[in-house]
C-alpha cells in the first residue's frame, strides 16, 4: 500500500470518526446521567442534516445551515424531552430504548412527509486541498476533525470547570446523592438532553456535505453510532472519543485492504471486544439495571 493512499485513508477515517464521536457523545452522556438509551439522537442528526440542506438552498451558505441545524435539533430535542422522556426517566433501559425507537421511526416518517423521499445533495463549503507530506487532503475533512476535537475540549471544560458540569459528573456517579444535596436533577437531565441533541444536530450538519441527505440516514448510522458507544463503554467520554477514532480507522483502512470489510469489520471488532470485556474499553460498572 503506498503512502499517499495510506495518508488519505487515515484522514478519511479520522473525519468519519469525528462525526461518530459527535453523535455518540450525546448517547453516552444520556446513558451515563439518565440511564436511558436514547435512539432518537439519530433523529436530531437527520433533522440537523435536513435543516442544513434547506438553509443552504435558501442562503447559499453551508455554515449558516450547520448552525441552523444545531438550533433546530436543540429545539426538537427539548420538545421530545418535555413530552416523552420526562415521563419515562424512572423506567428500565429496554423500555426507553423501545420508546425512543418509536420516536425515531415517527420522525423518519415526518421527514419523509416534509422533504420527500429523494436524496438531496449538500455541496462541500470549502473546496480547497491541503498538502500533508505531499498528499492532497480535502480541507473540509480537516475542519471536521478540528471541530470535533474542539467539542471534546469544550465538553471537558464544561464538565470539569462549571458548576452544572460538575453536578452532571456527580450525577453520572450517583444520581440519588446529587438529588439529596438539593440539586434539581430533572433540570440537569433537560440540559444534558439538549446538549446531546445539539451535538447530534452538529454531526448531521457536518456529515451532510460528505454524503447525500436522505430520510433513512438516521437508521443507517444507528448501528454504527451505538457500536462506538458500546466499544468505548457507556457513559465514558474519553472512551467514546477513542472508540470513535478506532471505528473510523477500521472502516477506512479496512476498506483499503478488502472492500467488503468496510461495513463488516467494525461489527466484528465490537463482537470481539464485548466478548472479552462486556462493559466496553472504558466502561464503568452499571448502577441501575
Amino acid at each position: 500500500m503506498d503512502a499517499q493512499l495510506l495518508i488519505s485513508g487515515v484522514i478519511f477515517g479520522l473525519s468519519i470518526g469525528s462525526i461518530f464521536f459527535l453523535l455518540a457523545i450525546g448517547l453516552s452522556l444520556c446513558f451515563g446521567l439518565m440511564r436511558i438509551i436514547s435512539l432518537d439522537q439519530l433523529l436530531y442528526y437527520s433533522v440537523g442534516a435536513y435543516i442544513t440542506y434547506t438553509l443552504h438552498v435558501v442562503t447559499g451558505n453551508t455554515w449558516v445551515g450547520v448552525f441552523g441545524g444545531m438550533v433546530a435539533a436543540g429545539i426538537v430535542s427539548f420538545g421530545v424531552e418535555r413530552f416523552v422522556f420526562l415521563r419515562i426517566y424512572e423506567r428500565d433501559i429496554a423500555f426507553t430504548m423501545i420508546t425512543s425507537f418509536g420516536i425515531l421511526f415517527a420522525g423518519v416518517g415526518a421527514i419523509k412527509y416534509i422533504w420527500g423521499l429523494i436524496p438531496r445533495p449538500v455541496p462541500v463549503p470549502i473546496d480547497a486541498q491541503v498538502g500533508i507530506l505531499g498528499t492532497g487532503v480535502p480541507a473540509y475533512r480537516l475542519i471536521v476533525i478540528g471541530i470535533s476535537l474542539l467539542v471534546y475540549l469544550g465538553i471537558w471544560l464544561f464538565l470539569n470547570r462549571t458548576i452544572i458540569g460538575k453536578a452532571i459528573r456527580a450525577g453520572i456517579e450517583d444520581v440519588e446523592h446529587v438529588e439529596g444535596l438539593g440539586v434539581n436533577v430533572y433540570r440537569l437531565f433537560t440540559i444534558t438532553f439538549i446538549i446531546a441533541g445539539i451535538l447530534s444536530g452538529l454531526a448531521g450538519g457536518l456529515h451532510s456535505s460528505l454524503i447525500m441527505v436522505d430520510p433513512q440516514m438516521g437508521l443507517e448510522v444507528l448501528a454504527l453510532a451505538f457500536m462506538v458507544v458500546i466499544i468505548g463503554g457507556l457513559g465514558s467520554i474519553k472512551g467514546t472519543l477513542a472508540s470513535a477514532f478506532i471505528v473510523g480507522q477500521v472502516i477506512s483502512l479496512g476498506s483499503l485492504v478488502y472492500a467488503p470489510l468496510a461495513q463488516m469489520a467494525p461489527f466484528a471488532t465490537m463482537l470481539v471486544i464485548l466478548l472479552i470485556k462486556p462493559t466496553g474499553l472504558w466502561g464503568s460498572k452499571l448502577l441501575k439495571r
Binding site: 420508546t99 421511526f105 423518519v108 416518517g109 448501528a223 461495513q263
Partner: protein, 328 residues
C-alpha cells in the same frame, strides 16, 4: 375433560378466527400474517418471558432462509427437507451463538444481535456473493418438486401447511408456559439471584430459551424462503431489524396471542395506510410511543381482560353466587 377443553379452547378459537382471515381476505395477506406471526413469536418469547430484547432477529430469519435456499438451489428439490434443514441450521447457529450472547445484559444483548444481523447481511451480500449471488438473490421456485399431499409450490396448499405449523407451534408455546421451564424463564427475568439459590442454572435456562426462540425465527425464515421461492440479503437488512420488536409491542409483550394480533395489525396497517399516505412510519412510530406511555400492554394485552370478562361473566359469576348461597 373440562380441563382439557379449557386448555385448548383459546388456541382453537384463535385458529378458527385465523382460518376466517383466509376466507375473507386475499391469500397473500393471510400467508404473510401467518409467517410474520411465527417470526414475531420468537421475539415475543425472548422479550416477554426471558427479558431479552433483541434488535437482531433478522439474523436468525436469514439463517433459516439461507439454510433452506442453499439446499433447494444446489442440492435437492423436496421443500419439506429444505424446511427441515432450515430449522436444523437455526438450531446449530443459535446453539453456538447463544452460548456467548446470553451472558450479556439485556441492552448489550440487543446491540450484539444487531451486530450479528449486519455481519450476516454483508456476508451474504458481498463476501459470499459467489454462492449467494449477492443482491440478485437465489431463485429456486422452479427447482421445487411437487409433493404428494400438500404441494408447497402452490400458495393455497402452502397456507394449509403454514396454518398447521403455526397451530402446532402455539400449542407448544402454551405447553411451555404451563411447564416448569416456562416458570424458570419468568424467574430468570424477574430475579436471577433467587433462581440460582433454588439450584437452577440461569445460563442453561437462558440458553435453552434462546435456542427455542431463535429456532422458531429460523423456521419462519425457511417458510418465507419456500413461500416466496427466492431469498436475497434484503431479508436481513438492518433497517428492518426492529420490525419484530415493534410487532411484539403492538400485540402485547409476553402474551400468547399477541404476536398474531400484532402481525395482523401491523401488516394490515402497512397495507391500508401505504395506500392512503406514503409515510406510514409516522403513524406506526407515534402508535408505538403511545402504547409504551399508556402502560406497554399492546393491543392484545388491553383486549384480553375485556374479552375474558365479557366471555366468562355469565359462566363464572353464577357459580360464585351458588357457593355464596351454600355458605349461608
Amino acid at each position: 375433560m373440562m380441563n382439557l377443553f379449557r386448555w385448548w379452547w383459546g388456541i382453537l378459537l384463535t385458529f378458527f378466527l385465523l382460518a376466517l382471515v383466509r376466507v375473507f381476505l386475499p391469500l397473500p395477506f393471510a400467508n404473510e400474517i401467518i409467517i410474520f406471526s411465527i417470526y414475531t413469536m420468537g421475539c415475543s418469547f425472548l422479550l416477554g418471558r426471558v427479558g431479552f430484547i433483541s434488535f437482531g432477529q433478522p439474523a436468525y430469519l436469514a439463517v433459516g432462509a439461507y439454510g433452506t435456499a442453499f439446499y433447494l438451489y444446489y442440492f435437492g428439490t423436496n421443500p419439506y427437507i429444505g424446511i427441515l434443514l432450515g430449522i436444523l441450521s437455526g438450531v446449530v447457529i443459535s446453539m453456538i451463538v447463544g452460548a456467548f450472547f446470553v451472558r450479556l445484559r439485556s441492552d448489550y444483548f440487543a446491540l450484539v444481535n444487531l451486530a450479528l444481523a449486519v455481519i450476516i447481511f454483508y456476508l451474504m451480500e458481498k463476501v459470499l456473493a459467489k454462492i449467494t449471488h449477492g443482491d440478485n438473490g437465489l431463485w429456486f421456485l422452479a427447482n421445487m418438486s411437487s409433493t404428494p399431499v400438500l404441494d408447497l409450490g402452490k400458495p393455497s396448499h402452502f397456507f394449509i401447511f403454514a396454518f398447521l405449523v403455526a397451530l402446532a407451534l402455539w400449542t407448544f408455546y402454551k405447553y411451555l408456559d404451563d411447564s416448569l421451564f416456562g416458570a424458570c424463564c419468568l424467574a430468570t427475568k424477574i430475579n436471577e439471584d433467587k433462581l440460582k439459590f433454588l439450584g437452577y442454572s440461569n445460563f442453561a435456562i437462558r440458553w435453552m430459551a434462546f435456542i427455542i426462540a431463535n429456532t422458531t425465527t429460523a423456521l419462519a425464515g425457511s417458510l418465507y424462503a419456500v413461500y416466496l421461492g427466492f431469498v436475497s440479503p434484503a431479508i436481513t437488512h438492518p433497517a428492518r431489524a426492529a420490525d419484530p420488536v415493534i410487532v411484539t409491542i403492538l400485540g402485547g409483550v409476553g402474551t400468547l396471542y399477541g404476536p398474531i394480533v400484532g402481525a395482523i395489525a401491523y401488516t394490515g396497517m402497512k397495507d391500508l395506510l401505504s395506500g392512503f399516505i406514503t409515510n406510514w412510519e409516522l403513524f406506526i412510530g407515534l402508535l408505538l410511543v403511545f402504547i409504551m406511555l399508556a402502560g406497554e400492554k399492546g393491543i392484545w394485552g388491553t383486549l384480553e381482560p375485556i374479552l375474558k370478562k365479557a366471555l366468562f361473566r355469565k359462566a363464572i359469576l353464577p357459580r360464585f353466587q351458588e357457593s355464596g348461597d351454600k355458605s349461608k
